[in-house]
């Protein structure tokens, strides 16, 4: 059991040391870790080899600075760029960075306007569909007089009245009991109306809408 624990600790130590090698090589491992890794590498061929490999790699990668050019030219370029930016702040502020976003916003605006227009049209007030008692259901060119007979007027009496004024029923009765009468073109409509109004069987008589405004 003690041997197993020792082996387990040894395995853990090996993995820890192997993983710490880059930080020992670049000098960023703590002193404690560095000592532990170096001590372990003395007795572990794999870690010793890895340590050597990465020391060589580090030496190679650090290299020399001979090839690095003087920064003056690029520094001047950067300063020039900053000068140019500070000289034209307004242009920068209004520069469109995402033209597709502007296009999308315009498209959205057009869509909203179209929908609003459609909504306005559908909710616009329409002419109310109602009728008055005096309004004919349909305008008949032959219509001359509108008349309402008394409820107790007999059919014979009504026929007699119509014959006396030489009129024919061309419409009705409406819901309100209004009949529309036609008269010959040469007849005096106002005379017909006066005759009808004198009869007790007639409750109401007036000039038809078709003739309204047409004096006879």
């Amino acid at each position: 059991m003690a041997d197993e624990n020792r082996m387990h600790r040894s395995s853990d130590n090996h993995e820890q040391c192997w993983e710490l090698i880059p930080w020992v090589v670049n000098g960023r491992a703590s002193d404690t870790d560095e000592r532990a890794v170096l001590a372990h590498a003395d007795s572990c061929a794999e870690c010793r080899e890895e340590l050597n490999r990465h020391r060589e790699l580090h030496k190679h990668m650090r290299g020399s600075d001979d090839v690095i050019p003087a920064p003056n030219a690029s520094l001047q370029k950067l300063m020039g760029q900053i000068e140019a930016e500070s000289a034209a702040p307004v242009v920068k502020a209004y520069r469109i960075k995402r033209p597709w976003l502007v296009a999308a916003l315009w498209l959205q605006l057009v869509a909203i306007a179209t929908l609003a227009g459609a909504l306005f049209r559908s909710s616009a007030p329409v002419e109310p569909a109602y009728t008055t008692l005096s309004m004919p259901e349909t305008l008949d060119r032959r219509a001359a007089v509108r008349v309402v007979f008394a409820p107790n007027a007999s059919l014979d009496r009504i026929n007699q009245l119509l014959r006396s004024v030489e009129c024919d029923i061309v419409g009705g009765p409406s819901e309100a009991g209004v009949y529309t009468l036609s008269a010959a073109a040469d007849k005096d409509v106002q005379g017909i109306i006066s005759t009808l109004r004198e009869q007790s069987e007639v409750l109401f008589a007036e000039r038809s809408q078709a003739l309204a405004g047409t004096p006879r």
Partner: protein, 200 residues
């Protein structure tokens, strides 16, 4: 050695402090945030050499190096007032350079592919020092860019594991995993490198 690298792994004792004077650099950043061009010039001269070394190694293009350095310092100039000092100044600036370099390199992938591939010689005994350089560079070129960047940040700029995590905007475990895979591959590609210092 077999090791499954999906656990946090061994603890890292507190790393030794990074090189450089963070207090002095913080003062430079404060002055830059007040639009002090002399401070920006000082910062530029302070970082030009180390960023150049790092960027030249990963891009191998001098024009790209200058472009990334200038982009980085321009970003510092424009955002210095937003730097809260949560990390070291060097971590912040190298982080900006890292992202710009990565973006620039991905944009130029076709050019990188077009670069002549370096053959890795099988034997070492007969090669000279300059060939060793080529051999090592060829092996490093074999690594995925993220793994290589971790190695470059550690060995060229001397950053700690935690600093690399901050620079690359990933977790410490991700840095450890990238380094683990990079090292496993390098041990295969550079089997004899371990013996060079012993006389090969």
């Amino acid at each position: 050695m077999t090791r499954i690298h999906n656990d946090p792994g061994p603890r890292l004792a507190l790393a030794k402090p990074s090189f450089g004077n963070n207090e002095a650099e913080l003062e430079l950043i404060r002055r830059v945030s007040l639009r002090d061009r002399a401070a920006l010039r000082d910062l530029y001269l302070l970082y030009h050499r180390r960023l150049s070394r790092f960027l030249m190694r990963v891009t191998q293009r001098q024009d790209l190096v200058e472009e990334v350095i200038n982009d980085t310092l321009l970003a510092v100039w424009n955002s210095a007032e937003r730097f809260r000092g949560d990390s070291r100044v060097s971590t912040w600036i190298v982080g900006i350079a890292y992202r710009r370099a990565l973006k620039s390199m991905r944009r130029r992938t076709f050019e990188i592919i077009a670069l002549e591939e370096t053959e890795i010689p099988a034997g070492f005994d007969s090669v000279q020092a300059c060939e060793t350089q080529e051999w090592i560079e060829g092996a490093l070129d074999e690594l995925p860019i993220e793994q290589r960047m971790c190695l470059e940040l550690a060995y060229v700029l001397g950053h700690s594991c935690e600093e690399i995590a901050a620079i690359t905007s990933c977790s410490v475990n991700t840095v450890k995993t990238r380094l683990f895979h990079a090292r496993r591959k390098l041990s295969t590609l550079l089997p004899r490198l371990a013996g060079i210092s012993d006389g090969g």
